[in-house]
């Protein structure tokens, strides 16, 4: 649906050239929700703006539905953009227009006839759950309601793709939740492909099928959400993953525990979630596992569990225990003991 190949974008500023995106390739498949996560300044915002050519890549190509759109003439670009909706962190509604007009204006300006215009506006107001607010002004709405209006406005042109630029970053956790549910509904019921960028791992966790992690303009890791959660290799990715469940353990605690055994992070995906593996470790080996932190999280499709465990015992025995855990389908990863 969306294919970015070797896309780079640099900006000339007074301080010199900034490479906002550096040779990024990724593909968003039809019907999926694809997330791009990264800290601020990672280049994710520039990346999503390249998809609808709000930023024209310095090099590389953007292909939408098998058509290279990177250097289209202005008129054709307008047509392409009309089939790609976009929502923003700051909602970007017209303050001087009521909810109905905010949604209707794009249609009026693209020559949609009156009858159809009214039907569509009503339909999408219904979908986002704001049918009763049609004559309110944005100033009278809450952040969540404003984002719903913005979503309706993006959908009213009946796009096949929806781009979300930090759409939930300005919202409180509860409102974020409800907007994410709305995005899921749009994806499922209207079959709209969604590409979103965020710096919050819980957005990825709840609605994304696949995810790319960005740092310094590059994609450092990408794959299915469950794989990123269980098999992340890059330190930045691990930090994002850890941000969803256990907080970092205090350094002093880690140092102390490191002297009497190993501290490991165990990830349980699918089948291994239901086996009492830790209990059998203590039964089979002279090793006593002590749970330090942990949790279970629900991804869009799978459940995944993670535990940080202290394996108290002789080094040789703890190694055997780790090997056993791996045999049982548990992902084991050593936790680094900070020195000094």
């Amino acid at each position: 649906m969306i294919k970015l190949s070797n896309v780079s974008k640099s900006f000339h500023t007074k301080k010199g050239i900034i490479h906002a995106i550096d040779d990024v390739s990724l593909e968003v498949k039809k019907g999926e929700i694809f997330g791009v996560i990264g800290y601020s300044g990672a280049g994710k915002s520039t990346l999503i703006r390249c998809v609808n050519l709000l930023e024209v890549p310095t090099s590389g190509s953007v292909v939408i539905k098998d058509r290279d759109v990177t250097h289209l003439p202005a008129e054709e670009l307008l047509q392409v953009r009309r089939k790609i909706g976009m929502i923003f962190q700051g909602f970007n509604l017209l303050k001087t227009a009521n909810v109905y007009d905010n949604i209707a204006i794009p249609l009026r300006l693209t020559e949609v006839d009156k009858q159809e215009l009214h039907e569509r506006v009503t339909k999408y107001l219904q979908i986002v759950g704001l049918a009763d607010k049609h004559d309110a002004y944005p100033g009278q709405l809450s952040g969540g309601q404003k984002q719903r209006v913005a979503i309706a406005r993006a959908l009213v042109q009946e796009p096949e793709i929806l781009l979300s630029d930090e759409a939930t970053s300005a919202l409180d956790p509860e409102t974020t939740e409800s907007i994410l549910e709305l995005l899921l509904k749009i994806n499922k019921e209207l079959g709209i492909t969604i590409m979103l960028i965020t710096h919050e791992m819980n957005v990825i966790q709840k609605i994304c099928d696949r995810v790319a992690v960005m740092e310094k303009g590059k994609v450092i890791e990408q794959g299915r959400t469950v794989d990123i959660y269980s098999k992340a290799t890059h330190p930045t990715t691990k930090r994002f993953v850890n941000s969803t469940y256990c907080k970092e353990l205090p350094k002093a605690v880690l140092r102390e525990l490191g002297q009497t055994g190993r501290v490991v992070r165990l990830s349980f995906v699918g089948e291994s979630t239901s086996k009492p593996v830790l209990a059998s470790v203590s039964a089979k080996f002279p090793v006593s596992p002590n749970i330090l932190a942990g949790g279970i999280i629900q991804l869009k499709q799978e459940t995944i569990g993670a535990l940080v465990v202290h394996l108290h015992g002789e080094p040789a025995e703890t190694e055997k225990a780790i090997a056993y855990l791996q045999e049982q389908g548990v992902m084991v990863e050593g936790v680094e003991i900070p020195n000094g």
Binding site: L78, R82, I84, G90, N92, L93, K95, T96, P138, Q157
Partner: protein
């Protein structure tokens, strides 16, 4: 009472005539200076770096021209462009002769006020409409100018009031108006009554205009 009677009979027609002249000068020059100033303001915005018609050369030229004209006091401008006025309207005196310099004075002023008003519009909103495949001319009209309406109205209020100030000097080229009246009767003839009435009318006029401007702006502002 007799004095009042005399004043009304003797001076009211002249005062009324002056009010009409002021209104004529202000409305005609306002109309033309908006027609010139508003598009100039839009152009100043659009040619700014990072905007739809980004063009350093055009922006810099406009910017400098607007600044140059704005730095010439109206009373000097009035005489400075006499030949131009004559060329354009065939005369350099009377209402016609005053309107040209008034427009030349007000248009760049309005351009700057409009530029400021339009700068207040959140660039994110413009981007949102760009992302929807809306044409630039539609964005200018339906997003940029629409969202800036309250500030545009307040800017125009300032422009009108400063135009009224300009017309006071138009008497120098024989265009009449309230300023001329206050000068000729109030100052040269020591008829302080005329001076007081003129000042009073001007105060009421400016107060009314500002209130209308404020109310209209509030009506369009929805947050």
């Amino acid at each position: 009472m007799a004095d009042l009677q005399q004043f009304i009979e003797g001076r009211l027609p002249i005062i009324w005539e002056s009010v009409v002249q002021t209104f004529q000068m202000v409305s005609i020059s306002l109309l033309f200076s908006v027609l010139i100033g508003l598009p100039l303001g839009v152009l100043l915005i659009l040619t700014r770096p990072g905007n739809a018609l980004e063009n350093r050369v055009v922006y810099q030229i406009l910017n400098v021209v607007v600044n140059i004209i704005r730095s010439i006091p109206f009373i000097i401008l009035l005489f400075f462009i006499l030949p131009f006025t004559k060329l354009l309207v065939g005369t350099s005196i009377g209402i016609k002769g005053a309107i040209v310099p008034l427009i030349v004075h007000a248009a760049p002023n309005i351009a700057r006020l409009m530029e400021n008003a339009l700068l207040e519009v959140d660039s994110g909103v413009i981007e949102a409409y760009k992302s929807m495949g809306i044409r630039t001319r539609h964005i200018i009209w339906h997003v940029l100018l629409r969202e800036a309406r309250p500030s545009i109205i307040l800017g125009l209020t300032i422009a009108v009031i400063s135009l009224i100030g300009g017309t006071a000097m138009a008497g120098l080229v024989g265009a009449g108006g309230l300023g001329d009246l206050a000068y000729r009767f109030g100052h040269l003839r020591y008829e302080v009554d005329v001076m007081y009435v003129t000042v009073f009318i001007l105060i009421v006029l400016v107060q009314c205009l500002q209130s209308i401007g404020n109310r209209l702006a509030a009506k369009y502002k929805r947050d």
